[in-house]
Amino acid sequence: MAKSTIYAGLEIGTHKICVVVGEAKRDGAIKILGVGQAPSRGVRKGEIVDFEKVQTCVNDALVRAEDRSDVMIRNVFLGVTGAHIESLNNRGRHRLPDEQTEIGEDDVEEAKEIARSVSIPQSNVFLHSVTRQYIVDGQEAVRQPIGREGRVLEADYHIIHGVRGRVQNAIRCVREIPLEVEDVVFNPVAAAQVVLTREAKMQGALMIDFGAGTCDYVLYEDGMITASGCVPLGGDHITNDVSMALQIPNGRAERLKVEEGSVLYEEVPEGEMLSIEDDTGLILGEIERAFLNEVMNLRTKEILIQVRVRVEDHLGRLGAGIYLTGGVSMMKGVDVVAREVFGIKVTRAGSAPVSGITATFENPQYSAPIGLIRYAQILDSEKPFLSPLKRLGRRMQELLSSITL
């Protein structure tokens, strides 16, 4: 294998489409070679609704990324999200044969198989199944069970699955560009690889990727992924609320939100007015700043409450608190609202420092695409015996068989 591998991550977001090219060194370091970005059209709530528009946008982003990184991109890791993606934890229990006391490789495989054979809806497909831990005779948090003495081996899995058709559509859209999809990754899982440090994961952390279309989250406990999912609400909803409350077009509402908006309305002095301009600078009207902020606040709070509802059970065990990332996390005051909602420490974070274009990783908008590179690297280091080519082949086989339906 070469000394370093170049990966490309593609995230088709609701607001922007982003291609990140990164070089993963053998020692684990990542260098960002280039980033290509284009505003996104034809995506709603994280899912592609208009193939052609999306393809044009992806092409734009791709060309830019290729230009900057001077790399021809053929394969990408595709980040997906959407309301249809769900997760669950499952345990597979395997009892060793009577005459055997030492856990062997076969037993681990057997336990894994049982854990993974969880019944998901017929139309769904597994996106990830991550080993959380092994349990030997009730002793938890065993990382490496092979060679241990034991009677009962349990494998604890976190399984993320989504509707096959919808995942397939995203892949198909990208393949028509044409780009090969090396792997499909659930966005927050990728983002967490660069946003959360190992320490944060050990202490327990909830990462919320607050994007335009969706609000994805991943929760880690004791270094193990415990919950993940997607709330199909995001920055677009805030914009929509603003646009409908102020009776202004969406585009202007978006700009107003980004430039002037804040989710803190209590401190705004009463009577402070904001003028709304159109493109030519003509003043269309005035609104009260507190009103704008209140509309935004209500929605933001609601979205975060939706996230809280889904992770309620684990909230007590988050030592490292909450990490907010994604575009909306740049909104003024969002951390204060999040703190109000969750009642624990909230950190706004972008990707952890990697070498390369520094401006990129500091921006929380790029957490997910950079995370894709990191994810790709982890994937490769975990499976050193399976070359990417083979993996690709297998993946494609899967795809082909399901596409020819």
């Binding site: 709603r44 709530k45 609704v49 309301a83 009892r95 054979s117 019944s119 998901i120 809806p121 017929q122 139309s123 509707v163 709330v231 199909p232 609400l233 677009d236 909803h237 929509n240 609320d241 646009s243 409908m244 409350a245 969406n250 209140e294 509309v295 209500l298 929605r299 609601e302 939706q306 020819t404 339906l405």
Partner: protein, 578 residues
Amino acid sequence: MVEYDRSQSPEGASTAAPRICIVGVGGAGSNVVDRITLDRIVDATLVCAHTDVRVLGHSMAPVKIQLGAELMKGIGAGGDPDLGREAALFSRDQIRHSIENHDIIFISAGLGGGTGSGAAPVIAEIAKNTGALVLVVATMPFSFEGRRRLAQAEEALELLQKRADALVLFENNRMGELILPKDGIQKAFNQADQLIAQSLRAISTITTTPGLVKLGLDDLTSALANANGRCLFGFGEARGQNRGTEALKKALKSPLIDSGRLLHQTKNLLVHVAGGESLTLVEVEGVMKQLGRHVPDQTHILFGLGVDAKLGDAVAVTLISSLGLNQLNAHATAAPPSEMLQPRAEVTAPVAAPAPVFAPAPAAVTPAPAPKREVAARKAPAPYAPPVESTPDLLFKSAAFSSVPAVGEAFPLTSLHLEAAAPVQTQDPDVALVEEEEPAFEEHEPEPPVIAAAPVFASIPETARIPASTPVAKELADATRNGNGKESTLAAVVARSVTLQTEAAPAQDDLISFDEQHESTMISATAVLTRKSTADSQQTFSLGEEDRGRFKDTEPSIVQGEDLDVPTWMRLKKKLRR
């Protein structure tokens, strides 16, 4: 028609081995028989009965019966079970003639169509009258075949249940679901036929061939005993190294077992391991040990072991069990085709209930039901149908009348009628007429019986225990206690007590009250169900008209009945206004 009786050919053997006859009724049934004929897997007389001559012409069965030749003129029943039944009644003698002199008669039919649902009960009745053991292997229609067929199937099922010694019921949906979506419909049906043919073969070999550890029909019935149960069946055969494990794996792979997942809930499981003379104890032990992983400890495993020289060096594992439709659906509802399945559950649950309601109504005790007929049109004919000792003709006509509860159409009404009927039984007819008016028109009427249901249910064992002096009642009480008031046992008990009724006259009063209470429980169950479904539908009504702005065309994000795509402030305002 010329008859080749294959089972008769080895003259000497026929006395020892039970004579088996397999009758395929209707399209699905004849397909199964065809498959058996082709595979030559069972040594039996194969009979194909159909109304449609064209189907009969294609059939490969050695004995063919054209049902109702004069009546139907060789045309199919067109999905009408009444026609199918009439046709079968016309050809009664011919049917009897073909299936006489057999020890076991299998009847295979696809329920839901005209001939299958109509004629199969008639044939089952005739078969029963010949003194043979009658086993019915039936399939329920695919859900895409529509509600009407499902209703017909349920109706036929009801009739078959009374006549057959054992009923093996397959859920076509289950089979269809697990076939790859790209496979054609023909394959789906084919697969179903194949599975049924296999099960027929397995059952006949299990129950007839002598084994080291013998399984009899009693074991089979107890494996299948489940209120409204659907059969889970798996069969696997393998040879070579690890043949036992491989065979078990194959058996578990059967779509009806869903790689062993469905076995987690079964109460009884019949396992039959067969092999050639080379079968070793270790292999059998291995199979059972492995199977133990898929089956909870409390499951009753009915184990059978047979050595069959015909198998050579192969080992065959057969798994038979049953699971209530509700449990089965609970498994399946996880899948999105649940849109299709949900209405099914709704439909079938109330249907499941009436079985015991209708069967036992003791004719001798209730006053002549003439005035009540209008009140409870569906209920009244029941007294006419005591399952024993009546001529087939009368039986079928009245049974047709009772047309078990009207699946699908106007549930609330049905249940209301039944409610009205429940108190009517013992009171005098005049009161009934007065009462009839009210409940029929008040929509919210179901509520009181719901509340009443709880004490009623609880009191069942009590009523059963009080008259413990008479033999019938004693039996009843025992059975109730054993069964913990489960539907299946109750049904059985009631049915049995009805047959004994004439001998144990003093017990009658208690029996009736028992019967009634049971009935009202059932009814209130229906009422609850109906109510629940209306409540569900109401929730979805209120949505979708609000202003969602740019999310107009997207999939709504509904949480607790609120569409979260609608601006938060707008929803808050609405709430405040309320």
